[in-house]
């Protein structure tokens, strides 16, 4: 079974309305209309936005981590992961999970935004071979 060919790619851009925090636009791309429900797409993007907000949240915990790091001359990160890194791992697990459950069965693939410098969510659309071919 040869791998499906890439038909096109959709790029979900960043939403800078609230500043430089990592947030993606929830506008549903028209190219996905035939493959995906708007609601599922919305849910994926909203969850990603919430996870990034959690990673970049300013609060007591992040300040404590920053101060502790400064006091140890940032050597503490040789043995400990930052909160941001932990959340990024969580995001990458979530994307893998979404791909397996929702996107791959529809011939789509989400690329982790960190691979693109958190600038876009790249969705690859594979050509649909279900028409005409029995399975």
């Amino acid at each position: 079974l040869r791998p499906p060919a890439v038909s096109s790619k959709v790029f979900v851009q960043r939403d800078y309305g609230s500043g430089t925090i990592s947030k993606f636009q929830t506008k549903f791309p028209s190219e996905l209309e035939s493959r995906l429900d708007k609601q599922q797409f919305d849910e994926t993007i909203q969850t990603l936005n919430n996870l990034y907000a959690e990673a970049e949240k300013l609060g007591g915990k992040s300040y404590l981590e920053g101060c502790l790091a400064c006091l140890t001359a940032y050597t503490i990160f040789l043995c400990m992961e930052t909160h941001y890194e932990k959340v990024l791992k969580k995001i990458s697990r979530y994307i893998k999970d979404q791909n397996e459950k929702i996107y791959a069965p529809r011939g789509l693939l989400l690329t982790d935004p960190i691979e693109r410098g958190l600038r876009v969510v790249e969705i690859t659309i594979y050509e649909d071979r279900s028409i005409g071919s029995g399975r």
């Binding site: 300013l58 069965p105 790249e122």
Partner: protein, 391 residues
């Protein structure tokens, strides 16, 4: 070294580079992702250390700091420790360690380089092609950030619209997030990921130079009880050193102002948020109060490096493993339409603004020149570079 995974796995580190190897032939040398990064950076320790191409001035900074601290510890500290208190060399030692740690951290850390747009992404921005000719996108795009209109410029090198506050450094040939300036003394750009290290470096260096200056003066005064104050003073180039310290302290003060108002050097120089531009012009990134701005800049969460720059990642441009068979979908009404460019406002070209200086003139990052310690007589004034002009 094992190839552990495909597209979704970021942990593998064997790389095959389909773009460069000949079709049908496996690439012989495994490569890391950072080796394929365009741009003029230098990498050491398997991509963990990232610096600019020109590092000569950085070595000068190192030499100056090590030399003057070395001289202070060798010639002044024994005298001060025995006549005053041993706490003096101890405090100087702690400051010195902090200065070196923050300097190295500022120099070696990835400032927040944005990976360039993939060909697909660039094509998406450039719009539908006609006969193989790509239409370049408009030069800028306007977005509303917290109620303030911000113009996003298109970067022709990186082929993408730069996020707000990002800028392209022509020395390193990269777009850097929250670009502050390119510091030759540190040998790297100062951006989102290493700004706090840079600030702590100049702050601790100010304290260190003031500390050394104060105790060299003390040493001169104590010694002058024997030889006379004026004769002891004329032998040490205090006046020259006073100007150098003024520059570093001034720079720290300037950056303290920038941090408290959440601006970058780039924005301040261009006057982006100045009320001179317009009555309603304000900084949309500021949190409103000085304390939050400072805390966010210095103790906020530090974003990790962008995925493409990690040393232990696999290049994922090869197609992934076969997807599971597609379930029956409703018949498609029509082939998917070609990708249309996102709706962009047609804007007249902005009047020429001051181009962001990737390399600031020297006065903004003066060399660290604490006063040399008092050497035993006879003393000839050591050769010092001319003092940098005041900020």
């Amino acid at each position: 070294r094992r190839n552990r995974g495909g597209l979704l796995n970021q942990r593998s580190f064997i790389v095959t580079d389909p773009e460069r190897s000949f079709p049908g032939q496996r690439s012989r040398s495994p490569r890391r992702k950072w080796q394929l990064l365009p741009g003029r950076n230098r990498f050491y320790c398997d991509g963990r250390i990232m610096m600019a191409r020109q590092t000569r001035v950085f070595y000068l900074t190192l030499v100056l700091i090590l030399l003057t601290c070395g001289l202070f510890f060798t010639f002044d500290c024994p005298f001060l420790a025995s006549h005053l208190t041993p706490a003096i060399p101890a405090v100087a030692g702690v400051l010195f360690v902090f200065v070196m740690a923050t300097l190295l951290r500022a120099s070696f850390t990835d400032p927040g380089v944005l990976p360039r747009a993939t060909p697909d992404e660039a094509a998406d921005l450039e719009g539908p092609t006609g006969e193989g000719v790509l239409n370049p996108p408009p030069r800028s795009r306007e977005v509303l950030v917290n109620g303030q209109t911000v113009r996003l410029k298109y970067c022709f090198t990186c082929r993408m619209f730069r996020p707000p506050r990002a800028s392209h450094c022509s020395l390193c040939d990269n777009c850097v997030e929250r670009f502050d300036h390119h510091c030759p003394w540190v040998g790297n750009c100062v951006g989102r990921r290493n700004y706090r290290f840079f600030y702590l470096f100049i702050l601790s260096l100010s304290f260190l130079t003031l500390f050394i200056f104060a105790f060299v003066i003390t040493h001169v005064i104590i010694r002058s009880n024997r030889t006379g104050f004026l004769s002891a003073l004329k032998d040490s180039p205090v006046v020259v050193c006073f100007f150098s310290i003024w520059s570093i302290v001034g720079l720290s003060g300037f950056h303290t102002y920038l941090i408290s108002s959440n601006q970058t050097t780039n924005e301040d120089i261009k006057g982006s948020w100045s009320t001179k531009r317009g009555k309603d012009n304000y900084n949309p990134y500021s949190y409103g109060n000085i304390l939050t701005n400072c805390c966010a800049a210095l103790c906020g969460p530090l974003p990790p490096r962008s995925g493409l720059l990690l040393s232990t990642t696999v290049l994922a441009s090869s197609p992934p493993s076969p997807l599971p068979p597609l379930p029956p979908l409703p018949p498609l009404p029509a082939p998917p339409p070609p990708l249309s460019p996102p709706p962009l406002l047609p804007l007249p070209l902005s009047p020429p603004l001051l181009p962001p200086p990737p390399l600031l003139p020297l006065p903004l990052s003066p060399p660290p020149l604490p006063p040399p310690p008092l050497l035993p007589l006879p003393l000839s004034p050591p050769l010092l570079p001319p003092p940098p002009p005041l900020l």
